[in-house]
């Protein structure tokens, strides 16, 4: 038994050609990773030292403190409100933007600017957008909502446009051939083809906004994030754990709800 691949019969091309470019790229990536780690002082001793510190930190978190429950509920409620409002407005904005960005239904002078707008919405992480809005409109939930709306449009509109670009144009053609107006074609031939996927994107975005809404507060955008950040700064690590557990619970519930919605719209 030989593990060396059989040499191809004379006169035949090698059926499994080797790509030296790909091998060189993998090797290059491996070398760079080691080099970057050496630059950034990523060492085993440093890691072990960090572990000890982490153990002390976890020790101070336990047991979780249920002292400031009013703060917790208020923060959670605000995060939930931020997430839901941002998702609703994000979806409403994404529908026309995504439709405008679809290259198979729209002329290039419509789709190009729409795609540029989507790319702009996607350029920055929600934290950076949240900081911008906090500076622009001041501290509080409104900044967080605006930041997450931008993130939602960047995500949903892009995927929605892609879903529209993958539809069967035969179905569209048939409906157009009946003399249907453009909007009727959209409602009866395009929407049925993308509705299930769109519902999937929207519920995923709600899920994502729930998580992000707990974070925008750290930069002043309202919600449980600000409560969390304050607790960190006051070294109330036991209360921090309570907040973290509450966030996990919310994400779980959101996940279950999203799955249920997706199933309903299949």
């Amino acid at each position: 038994m030989s593990i060396v691949p059989a040499a191809p019969a004379a006169g035949r091309p090698n059926p499994f050609p080797v790509s030296w470019t790909t091998r060189a790229a993998w090797l290059g990536l491996a070398i760079y990773s080691v080099y970057a780690a050496s630059l950034l002082d990523v060492t085993w001793e440093r890691f072990v030292f960090g572990l000890g510190n982490g153990a002390r930190f976890i020790g101070r978190m336990l047991p979780p403190a249920f002292t400031h429950m009013d703060l917790l509920w208020k923060g959670l409620a605000e995060s939930l409100e931020i997430a839901i409002i941002a998702t609703v407005f994000g979806i409403v904005l994404s529908l026309p933007v995504g439709l405008a960005a679809s290259r198979n239904l729209m002329p290039i002078w419509v789709s190009w600017p729409a795609r540029a707008f989507i790319a702009l919405c996607r350029s920055f992480h929600p934290v950076i957008v949240a900081i911008l809005f906090v500076k622009a409109v001041g501290f509080g939930a409104i900044a967080g909502i605006l930041a997450l709306i931008v993130a939602s449009v960047g995500f949903i509109a892009k995927l929605f446009a892609e879903a529209i670009e993958e539809i069967s144009l035969k179905q569209v053609e048939a409906v157009r051939a009946t003399g249907a107006s453009f909007m009727n074609v959209i409602f009866m031939a395009v929407v049925p083809q993308v509705l299930a996927r769109f519902t999937g994107f929207a519920t995923y975005q709600l899920d994502s906004n729930l998580r992000n809404s707990t974070m925008v507060g750290i930069v002043g955008g309202g919600g449980i994030g600000s409560t969390l950040f304050t607790a960190f700064q006051k070294f109330d690590y036991d209360f921090v754990l309570t907040i973290l557990l509450a966030i996990i619970a919310i994400i779980f519930v959101g996940e279950i709800l999203a799955g249920w919605v997706r199933k309903t719209f299949q």
């Binding site: 179905q171 048939a174 409906v175 157009r176 009946t178 003399g179 009727n184 049925p192 299930a196």
Partner: protein, 273 residues
């Protein structure tokens, strides 16, 4: 504008009545289509189609049969030429007047082209989309008379029990029945059929042709039919148009179509055994 309005009214009143066939004839003059500049698929086609009966267009694949049919309802833009129907040159219509012309021209497709995720009933009512606003379409507020007619048509095509099933649950033959019913829902003055049986087995093909021929004869709708199957063409059509290389090379009664013509249309002769 008033002339178009009057025409529309006349066509609507006359639908289904014999004696109105004059308004249902089609006249094609010098129709040319080039997908690529300098390489015409249709080379100056001129045809007069009477306002009744089935006209079958036969010819090899890639000879422009489908392009010809799609130029009529402008799913394909003609490069040059005129298509006269009910006093209008279809080749020049734009916007609303094009949509109003399309409302009166039904089309049946090779691959049925049903909206897969809509129900059978919704697919039939797509045939009425030229007449209702987007809001009503969205809310499915179709005219009750149209809904009643859709139920009747479903019974006629033998799918009465399938009204609320999704189109993607149907077999090929059933889908084409829905496709035909959708076209007839338009109360068309002309029916275009682009290879309606090419995706179906021989028995189903005959059934579909019988259904289409029967329904259109009953409502006196002229049919322009692209079809590969010469036997089916001869059996159902009143007139056969043979195309080759973007030209009409035969135009006559099915009985007059000889093997010599088929050689001229399809080329070669070994396949004619």
């Amino acid at each position: 504008m008033t002339a178009i309005g009057a025409m529309t009214g006349a066509a609507a009143n006359g639908s289904g009545q014999a004696g109105m066939t004059g308004t249902r004839s089609l006249s094609i003059r010098g129709l040319t289509k080039e997908y690529v500049r300098g390489k015409p698929v249709l080379r100056g086609i001129s045809l007069d189609i009477a306002g009744q009966g089935i006209t079958a267009i036969i010819g090899p694949s890639g000879t422009g049969k489908s392009t010809l049919i799609r130029c009529i309802n402008r799913l394909v833009e003609p490069t040059a030429g005129e298509i006269w129907f009910q006093g209008m040159d279809l080749a020049r219509l734009r916007g609303r007047s094009l949509r109003e012309a399309r409302r009166r021209i039904g089309m049946v497709f090779q691959e049925y082209n049903l909206v897969e995720r809509l129900s059978v009933m919704e697919n039939l009512l797509c045939g009425r989309l030229g007449y209702i606003s987007p809001v009503r379409a969205w809310l499915r507020r179709f005219d009750p008379a149209d809904i009643e007619r859709a139920f009747e048509l479903l019974d006629i095509v033998g799918l009465g029990a399938f009204a609320t099933q999704r189109a993607d649950a149907l077999s090929g033959g059933q889908r084409q029945r829905v496709g035909i019913a959708r076209a007839v829902m338009q109360r068309p003055d002309l029916l275009l059929a682009d290879e309606p049986t090419s995706s179906l087995d021989p028995k189903t093909s005959v059934e579909i042709m019988e259904l289409m021929a029967g329904l259109t004869a009953q409502h006196d709708i002229p049919v322009i039919l692209n079809i590969h199957n010469v036997e089916l063409a001869k059996r159902f059509a009143a007139r056969i148009v043979g195309m080759a290389g973007g030209h009409v090379v035969f135009d006559g009664l099915p009985a007059d179509l000889r093997d010599d013509h088929l050689k001229q249309i399809y080329g070669g002769e070994g396949w004619l055994e």
